[in-house]
Symmetry: D2
Subunit: 284 residues, 4 copies
């Protein structure tokens, strides 16, 4: 990539040498900050999301994730609680003083999701949904742009360019694994991409080790690896009862696994020169 | 795949043993028919689409393709003529008594595209745009569902299941190449998929050798290979001036290349037991 | 690939415009010829290979395949009959006046395999076994070079360049499927590669649809697709009792399936302008 | 992978719960140890390898890498100094009291390489060279088995099973990147594989970030990420004049980059619970 004229501009470190930092409900993202986003794959019941949010909040987590509109391979799979899910999610976040991130799947849902979320998540299948990107580029709320599971780094940066070009510069890139021939993990986590994008772009880069592995027991080491590779944050699927989750249970971690991850991330942060957005792990 | 319970139902040959056949403006699709869809990648000017449509019509082509809303990797690339392009496309088709197929990129464009097209095309990036699939499942116009460039055959059939489950059973599957490590062609044409889907589903399966190769000079052999593999039709990018095309010029074929393809397809059809939808090539 | 200086030379059509044609035991390979190589995946017993060879010979097949040294993913799988297998294979071929092709896995087996085979096969795992290529480049017997399942077309041609540079110009390239994310077929048959290599190199290009699909029921359409794509021959796994084969049974076809393939290939040949090396199918 | 009977046995943690630890010239490998192997891609001149070995030795590196027989995609590329290279490599190692690791490409080179090396390296192209694996399984020297760039984790473990089954249990697995659609890095480093293999096998797992990235500037973060993911060691390409290297110059790091890597690895080791095999970085 060196010495060649890049096809993107606004997202590039050549264009803006200062790394992008912005605030969401008082939480700083980017720069020296390291953010830990957590929550269930899908909002399933009011009780479930409150239980999880309450737990995570006590561990110091500031941003709550949870899907209300779920993109599912099969039409026979649980499709999410939709607006009801958005409502439960926001209530759980508000009660615990957390910010919300949730996926928006379609242009005609942008306004509705806007009412409930603090950060729009664009899922891996929608990285090149250009109409959606154009719509979100006009929003005043930040966007987390997940990498398409078969998108090159260049295509990913060009998708982000759609957002910046339209006027929204509060963008988080999120590596979540790519599709390869290897099938003992759900996807192949591409940490090279994290390392490389940090040399190409000023945007913060997060990692989602849950989607990237699909295997609960290696989420922990991949969280640490992501941080060591230079990520600015991670997003993890946590569930109070992973074995009964309505979606992605096999990759959702237990509360006690999450405890250990936060402890290790906390320890690693000083070596890496990062400031975690959560307080040192509290015994509950 | 043998002996395992399939995750899809309505699209399956087990569910419906009779192959799906339907008509679009008097053109029969599926069964023993073999359809040849042709046209430019994008509608560029009124004159361009009329020139191409007029030529194709004389060669017997019954279905005209052309993009008006173009999904482009870069925001700086030509994004299509939008509604103006739809208008030119329909006029060119009407004047030559052809049917229209064009891509719909987003739920909020479904109504507009409906006015101009006879077949909705769902592009490779939108194969798992489930909101779009749900919207199109309620339409009375057929849908061509392109395979996602990194979607498995099972995911493709499940995406089609969304359409049938919602009520639209006039669906064409279209293989258009998958993304692999090979980079001397734009994609890797997966004809195994054509052969396999014909054993799994009653839906017609088309092939787009232009997208699948990205190399003009091998479009011809891949058209024949697709037909020999059992495809029910092909969709080819043809341009009057490929070297000046605003998009995908390197894979668009010249008129004289198209002539030879139609001749060879015509000859091959009787061996394969297919009935081409175009008259034997006419010297212009 | 257009307009760029190619990294290979001797294999290139720029270097030698005349297509390579050579003879093996009176069978012409390359040019307008179309060869049908058939036989079991592995030589299992003396009786098995004689039964199959006798059948194939009656159908007009001139080149018999069969593995004696088998590269197996697991050390616990059947590893082949080794020299005993070579002996049975050659006897079966001799008795039926056929030529032999079999795999050579290692430099220290070149001399032994030379005694029994007419064509050396270099398997997909050995395409970049450069010591083996160098050894075979000094042989006076032809080499079929299978494409590595994850090798680019350029790497494949460079591997062939090792053979020609060392002095052996009787080389057959054989596409046998590449490894991709798709897992409902064993590999993804890359017919783009056949089309493209025919524009880049003077060497004959064969296709192995058995390895490329791993699914018995789609071997037939892929044989036809390969021929239509411009292949100079195909190599098919045939077994008298596929359901009891010691290796690759699910992709080996039955005798009656083979009968239909030869009939259709025969019919297709005149359209494609190819001369099959087998007589028109004989009723046995 | 859970709850299914595994196709391999001897390499499995189910078979042997104690992690494999062994010594090479006094250097302990596996268990709580963390090894840093370094050296040039290829031995180029006597002076080059002595300069590099001397530098690395002063930094505390105990195992020297360097290729003498080089597997090269093109027959026109530098093929290595062969036995002369082995000689220089061993002399440089001896003079600095280091152990040697170098690649063996073929069964007929096993004896020769044995004279000079302490650890045999099996390259990515030879992971499934089963004759070579069988030969090395009879050796009393350890083997580093690089993962095939398109081999699944299961295939990798089965290749190791060949070694253990033949009698050689001193095996190091080395992840070096896999081939995917992403082309802005040379390969895609698969750290999921490291995490997963640590849960499946008792064998030590190393990472080669130079091959895995092909980009000098991200070798450093990928070294740290590998360690954080649970790797037992790393192997890095270091060159005194990367810009003039005869092979793989773009991924070879400068001496000062190496300095920083060793410092950071040293710091990270205590957090991870690993004991580096090199003394804390010495100012030269």
């Amino acid at each position: 990539m060196e010495n060649t004229r890049k096809p993107y501009q606004l997202v590039s470190l050549d264009w803006k040498q200062e790394r992008t930092v912005f605030s969401v409900k008082g939480v700083e993202i980017g720069g020296d900050n390291f953010n830990l986003i957590a929550g269930p794959c899908a909002v399933e019941t009011e009780e479930q999301i409150h239980t999880i949010a309450s737990y995570l909040s006590k561990k110091g987590v500031k941003i709550l994730r949870g899907g209300a509109y779920k993109p599912r391979t099969s039409p026979y799979s649980f499709q999410g609680l939709k607006e009801e899910g958005l409502k439960y999610l926001k209530e759980a976040a508000d009660r615990n003083n957390m910010a919300v991130i949730t996926e928006v799947m379609d242009t005609n849902l942008v306004d509705k999701v806007y009412e409930y979320t603090d950060i729009f998540q664009v899922g891996t299948r929608n990285m090149q949904n250009f109409q959606l990107l154009k719509a979100l580029s006009k929003s005043d709320k930040p966007v987390m742009l997940k990498r398409g599971w078969s998108s090159t780094i260049e295509e990913w940066l060009l998708a982000a360019e759609y957002l910046l070009l339209g006027g929204n510069s509060n963008v988080i890139l999120c590596e979540r694994g790519i599709r390869t021939f290897e099938n003992s993990t759900r996807n192949t986590l591409d940490l090279n991409a994290v390392g490389l994008v940090k040399t190409l772009s000023h945007l913060p880069v997060f990692v989602d080790p849950s989607q990237a592995t699909g295997v609960r027991n290696i989420v922990h080491p991949m969280c640490l690896a992501a941080m060591a590779a230079g990520a600015d944050g991670i997003m993890v699927e946590v569930h109070n009862q992973p074995q009964e989750a309505l979606s992605d249970g096999v990759q959702s971690i237990y509360f006690d696994q999450f405890d250990k991850i936060t402890e290790d991330i906390y320890s690693l942060s000083s070596l890496i020169g990062k400031r975690p957005d959560f307080a040192k792990s509290v015994k509950i």
